[in-house]
């Protein structure tokens, strides 16, 4: 049989190729380009090698913001995952309560991020905000614009308010996929509520929880808009998480080289943590 060669099909790949090039490869290459060179504008570049990377990796400023970033992500995961599961467990499984709960739960997720930041900023203002004013009226010395502890507290509270719903919705979906027969079997065995949770619900939710943790890790690790609007990284630098610090460096100080190097390091950290986490979970999966 004669084989006809027709390579026209390759044309169909071009649109995707162009799209990916423009929204991922080219911007990323620009960053890579900046990270190895010094620029003084007018497209004048000088080769710097790995100098910016060394500078960033050794700088205390980067260590501090990276530390803050991990602390923030760790705290919100610690709160949102258990809280999300707990709320999902108490949600109704049938009846009119289901749509009501689902809609209420998805509300925070639908609000634009900068609106969330602005909302909480006003909400928490010590003199006129409902939260700030109430706390002060109750005798707490609360001022998130001046006291680092209060700034952290407010930022975490805001993130918990904004994103716990995601964990709730995922957990709820996981719980709903468990066949009622499992609960009956546990009931017949005489298993306690805790045992039912530990040995039926939790293992059955494992996949969606893995997804929830991954999503929340990535989102919170790259958080920018909400704390930027709420605290602007302050007071001082106490809530300047990685991306806030990065923007300050790139646009505030116009240190394009170090900022580009920092972007790449940032990118690799996210990639690495996700990869390690995903592999750990999948390894677990393979064992069981």
């Amino acid at each position: 049989m004669n084989k006809t060669i027709n390579q026209k099909a390759w044309y169909f790949v071009i649109p995707v190729f162009v799209l990916v090039a423009f929204n991922a490869a080219i911007p990323l290459m620009t960053v890579v380009n900046y990270s190895f060179q010094e620029t003084f504008g007018n497209n004048v570049f000088a080769w710097e090698g790995t100098r910016w990377f060394k500078q960033i990796l050794l700088s205390e400023r980067f260590h501090a913001s990276l530390g803050r970033q991990f602390a923030f992500t760790f705290i919100i995961l610690l709160i949102q995952i258990p809280l999300g599961i707990a709320i999902a467990l108490t949600m109704p499984k049938k009846g009119w309560g289901v749509p009501v709960c689902l809609i209420l739960m998805s509300m925070p997720l639908l609000i634009p991020w900068n609106v969330v930041g602005a909302m909480w900023n006003i909400f928490a203002l010590p003199d006129i905000g409902f939260l700030g004013h109430s706390l002060n009226a109750m005798g707490f010395d609360y001022n998130f614009t001046q006291q680092p502890g209060d700034a952290w507290f407010t930022t975490i509270l805001m993130d918990v308010w904004h994103w716990t719903s995601l964990v709730v919705l995922l957990s709820y979906a996981g719980l709903n996929s468990i066949q009622p027969a499992y609960y009956q079997a546990a009931e017949i065995d005489g298993a306690s509520r805790w045992a039912t949770f530990r040995y039926i619900e939790l293992p059955k939710m494992k996949k969606v929880l893995t997804l929830a943790i991954l999503l929340r890790f990535m989102d919170s690790f790259m958080i920018y808009t909400e704390p930027f609007v709420l605290t602007g990284g302050g007071p001082g630098n106490t809530t300047a998480f990685l991306s806030i610090d990065l923007v300050k460096m790139a646009l505030g100080q116009f240190d394009l080289g170090p900022a580009a190097a920092m972007s790449l390091i940032y990118f690799f950290i996210v990639l690495l943590v996700c990869w390690v986490f995903y592999n750990l979970m999948m390894k677990n999966e393979a064992q069981s």
Partner: protein, 354 residues
């Protein structure tokens, strides 16, 4: 020891799931609940177990009224159509779980789990997790969990439905033996008449939330009280026709096929039920009668041949042994074994009793 349902009724909203039902199951018996999907088998079982409360009526166990008593306080176990095991427990831990919860000592658990595992051929997989097992093994694990407890009441809700043919046959043969020397009442729900026949014991035929008939399985099969029970307990479906009897002579209302009947019943109009295997392509018994049919569908399974045919307004199924090759549209001759006819009166009650 016995389990007795007294006028048990279950309503959900305006729907009646179980019509008032009275049923007495004795110790050391296997009782099959036979009926199609939505006949109320599962609801009835859940009421027996105490997982669900009846809207009205009482449940008595061992001479005590247990209506409304929680399932944890009753000594029962249940196996489901889906393979229900604790996903991250090993087979051993799964089987041991009902014992561990009630605080049985470790040595005893080990001994009892070992015994049950051997009975169910699971000894080699005690350290595996349910995901690593085949469907048949997963269901064996679930069965072992039900057996290890020495329950007074063991409920099996279509336990073989999700298994493939081979495994189903294998487990179905073993099942009755598993319960032989146990001091318990076994209830087995199924949609398949052949399951009921193989398991034996007693059978209750169910239709739309009503128990139609309850008795020894063979009794119910051979002498269904009424047409509904006969229909439920027949697969492929029973063939039904209107007939007229005068003297010894019987005749179909719709065609001229005639036969002599020894049934001691009055002259008049009746309905007859003929099970498919009593219509064959060859003569069987001394009193077989010929009937013409136009072949509609012909299914061969190797050892059996299912031929759907029409004769006037009748649309019937016949089941013959061996491969009986027929072409669709052919006219063919079939033979009905008149000794096996079931005669029902106009109220659908069986009249040729015995």
């Amino acid at each position: 020891m016995s389990l007795e349902l007294k006028n048990v009724e279950k309503k959900v909203g305006i729907d009646t799931h179980i019509h008032p039902t009275s049923l007495k199951l004795e110790k050391n018996t296997i009782n099959v609940l036979l009926g199609s999907t939505l006949a109320g088998k599962t609801t009835l079982m859940q009421i027996m177990a105490g997982l669900d409360k009846p809207t009205s009526g009482e449940i008595w166990f061992d001479g005590k009224n247990v209506t409304g008593m929680k399932v944890q306080k009753r000594n029962c176990s249940m196996v489901y159509q889906q393979f229900i095991n604790y996903p991250n427990y090993t087979v051993y831990e799964n089987i041991a779980s009902p014992l561990a919860i009630t605080g049985v000592k470790n040595d005893e658990i080990k001994q009892r789990v070992g015994k049950v595992a051997e009975l169910l051929k699971l000894s080699a997989m005690l350290n595996k997790k349910p995901d690593e097992l085949s469907g048949g093994q997963q269901q064996r694990t679930a069965l072992a969990r039900a057996l290890v407890k020495d329950s007074d009441l063991i409920l099996l809700d279509e336990p073989l439905a999700n298994l493939d043919f081979k495994l189903r046959e294998e487990l179905r043969e073993e099942l009755p033996k598993l319960f032989e020397d146990r001091d318990c009442i076994v209830v087995y729900a199924t949609t398949e008449p052949s399951d009921a026949l193989m398991i034996g014991g007693n059978t209750a035929t169910l239709l739309e939330g009503k128990v139609i008939q309850y008795g020894k399985t063979l009794e119910v099969y051979n002498r269904p009280e009424n047409l509904i029970s006969a229909k439920v307990f027949s697969d492929p479906p029973m063939n039904i026709a209107e007939i007229t009897k005068s003297g010894d002579n019987c005749k179909f209302t719709d065609n001229d096929v005639q036969w002599k009947s020894s049934a001691k019943i009055k002259d008049g109009n009746y309905k007859i039920g003929i099970r498919p295997h009593n219509i064959t392509t060859y003569k069987e018994g001394n009193n077989s009668v010929e009937i013409n049919g136009k072949v509609q569908i012909s299914e061969l399974s190797g050892s059996e041949s299912l031929i759907h045919f029409t004769n006037g307004s009748l649309n019937w199924v016949s089941l013959s042994n061996g491969t009986q090759q027929k072409n669709v549209g052919d006219d063919t001759k079939l033979y009905m074994n008149t000794d096996e006819f079931l005669y029902f009166d106009q109220n659908n009650r069986l009249v040729n009793n015995g």
